[in-house]
């Protein structure tokens, strides 16, 4: 179900090409937006519950008479969403009004449009571009501009700190992420997401699924580098310095409240999904099932993709409730002194490997 199939399918397609294109895009964008909203609620509920279980707490459980948080706290995310929507969103007087209003949308757009290239299943993809993964990486760095905008426009020293820190962090972590993607592109020789998925079908030596992570040791390391750089890009612990609760209160988002804060919140979870989706597709065989014959039909592909992505999202949540936070200079030194050399080594390694073994 891709956009261009939709265009030919629309009845009045031939006489007003522009309008048909727009309607097709909107028809495709709506389910993605709904998916993100539902997924965010599930992710918030997951984070609340998992963090509580890890801390010997049970988390929100619907107790008490009258209006409460539903059985096992299921209504809690709905209550959070409602609260954020109904709350008055204040714009500080000294804030730079236009930029202040624009910032959350820029951040959300960064995460939202990269959903277009995520391969949910064999034929359930919004736009199967032949430069899929390159497009996602390019668009992913758009949210940095939003955060810097938010930090600058709230006219508050703490937000400025948060904005500058996140600029340095996200920009520098895109390099190891990009390089580790290059090392797998050398294997699959195609940038298109579906192409990468098709490359990972079948098995190696009969038992191991032919996922790139098992392909060779270098791509095994590349997976961890890419995943951890992804965690850094979503500002999640141990790299959550831009919105470090104990130092900058909420970093670049301190002055935001109500609906605008909800957008930042939503885009953080959307970004988490995108990063996990890309690492699942690139390294863990996207919609291919682990055992080659088992439930391999296109319909089931969505289940496999969602399973892998949500488990990676769980790992991110797991990180948050276990690790302390890194200092800014340590974060930079890890990126430039550890991740970069290793990802260059990976590229070299994969090259030699595919030459000898390939």
């Amino acid at each position: 179900m891709t956009v261009d199939q939709l265009i030919n399918w629309l009845p009045f397609g031939t006489d007003w090409p522009v309008i048909t294109f727009l309607t097709a895009v909107i028809i495709c964008a709506l389910p993605v937006f709904l998916f993100i909203a539902v997924y965010a609620l599930v992710a918030i509920y997951g984070e609340v519950k998992i963090s509580s279980f890890m801390a010997d707490k049970v988390g929100p459980m619907g107790q008490g008479v009258g209006f409460h948080a539903g059985k096992w706290g299921l209504l809690q995310p709905v209550a959070d969403a409602l609260k954020l929507i109904l709350k008055e969103d204040i714009i500080p007087a000294a804030a730079d009004k236009k930029l202040f209003i624009m910032a959350p949308f820029v951040v959300f757009i960064g995460a939202f449009i990269s959903f277009a290239a995520l391969p949910f299943g064999q034929n359930t993809i919004i736009a199967d571009m032949n430069i899929g993964i390159f497009y996602i990486l390019a668009v992913g760095s758009l949210s940095v501009i939003g955060i810097i905008l938010a930090g600058w426009s709230s006219n508050n020293k703490w937000s400025l700190y948060g904005g500058m820190r996140s600029a340095a962090q996200i920009v520098s972590y895109e390099i190891p992420a990009g390089l580790s993607i290059i090392s797998i592109i050398m294997l699959t020789e195609t940038l298109s997401m579906q192409g990468i998925n098709e490359f990972q079908q079948g098995t190696i030596w009969g038992i191991l699924p032919n996922w790139i992570i098992f392909n060779n040791p270098f791509s095994f390391i590349a997976f961890f580098i890419f995943f951890i750089s992804g965690v850094a890009e979503c500002n999640r612990t141990p790299f959550d310095i831009p919105e470090a609760e104990s130092e900058l209160v909420a970093g670049a988002f301190t002055e935001y409240s109500g609906m605008r804060y909800a957008f930042f919140f939503l885009s953080e979870y959307a970004e988490m999904f995108v990063v996990s989706g890309v690492s699942a597709t690139a390294f863990l065989g996207g919609w291919n099932s682990p055992i080659s014959g088992f439930f391999d039909s296109p319909g089931w592909g969505v289940f496999w993709f969602m399973g892998k992505t949500l488990s990676l999202v769980f790992v991110m949540i797991w990180f948050r409730w276990t690790f302390p936070r890194l200092r800014v200079d340590q974060l930079m030194s890890i990126c430039w002194k550890v991740f970069l050399p290793f990802s260059l080594l990976n590229i070299f390694g994969v090259g030699i490997w595919s030459l000898l073994v390939g």
Binding site: I50, F53, M54, A55, D56, K57, V58, M61, Q63, G64, V65, W318, F319, W321, T322, F323, V338
Partner: protein, 194 residues
């Protein structure tokens, strides 16, 4: 160069042990859950107790309560209070140990001592009270005590006594006695003052 790799190895191993601990806690949440579902489960926790049951409490710290009939107006509690949050005004009752029905004053306390004073005002300002329990020790009649715990036979526990207006937290324990009835009853109080 060597500590570069040992650094990485040490980082990876300690991070994984950390992950292991939180994983274990997540799995056996049913066993060592700590939270208390407040409106339903009240203190103390029914099955996850702390080694002995509640009636062994030595003393309880909650709202102050005064049985005004037992109070002989000795003002020991007012002197013992470190924050001066108890105010007592007493007038001499001519007849010691006699009941005075019209100002419903009982002459004898529950454990037998005859009362020589009428307590016309016994206010405790619970917003100032620091719950230090120093006022309950000197009281000869044990009429001032903290509700619940070992005193729950006198008054059940009450720690949900918040009010909307701060002045409602000034508890007036003395019985309502209007002045003219009081002065009519003990005229000699006036000329003693004059």
């Amino acid at each position: 160069m060597s500590n570069y790799f040992s650094n990485i190895f040490e980082a990876v191993s300690t991070l994984f042990t950390g992950l292991g601990i939180t994983w274990r806690h997540m799995l056996n949440i049913r066993k060592d859950n700590v939270t208390l579902q407040y409106p339903e489960e009240r203190w103390p926790r029914p099955e996850r107790d702390i080694g002995f049951n509640i009636d062994d409490y030595n003393v309880i710290r909650s709202r102050l309560q005064v049985d005004i009939d037992d109070c002989i107006g000795c003002m020991k509690c007012e002197r013992a209070c470190p924050v001066q949050c108890i105010k007592i005004v007493t007038t001499k009752s001519g007849a010691k140990g006699e009941d005075l029905p019209d100002i419903n004053h009982t002459g004898v306390t529950s454990n037998g001592t005859k009362k020589a004073l009428i307590v016309s005002r016994f206010d405790i300002d619970m917003t100032e009270c620091c719950y230090c329990n120093l006022c309950t020790y000197p009281c000869p009649e044990e009429c001032i005590y903290m509700t619940g715990g070992p005193n729950s036979h006198k008054h059940p526990i009450d720690y949900e006594f918040s009010q909307y207006d701060r002045n409602d937290l000034i508890y007036k324990f003395a019985k309502e006695i209007d002045d003219e009835k009081l002065s009519k009853y003990f005229p000699q109080k006036e000329e003693a003052k004059a």
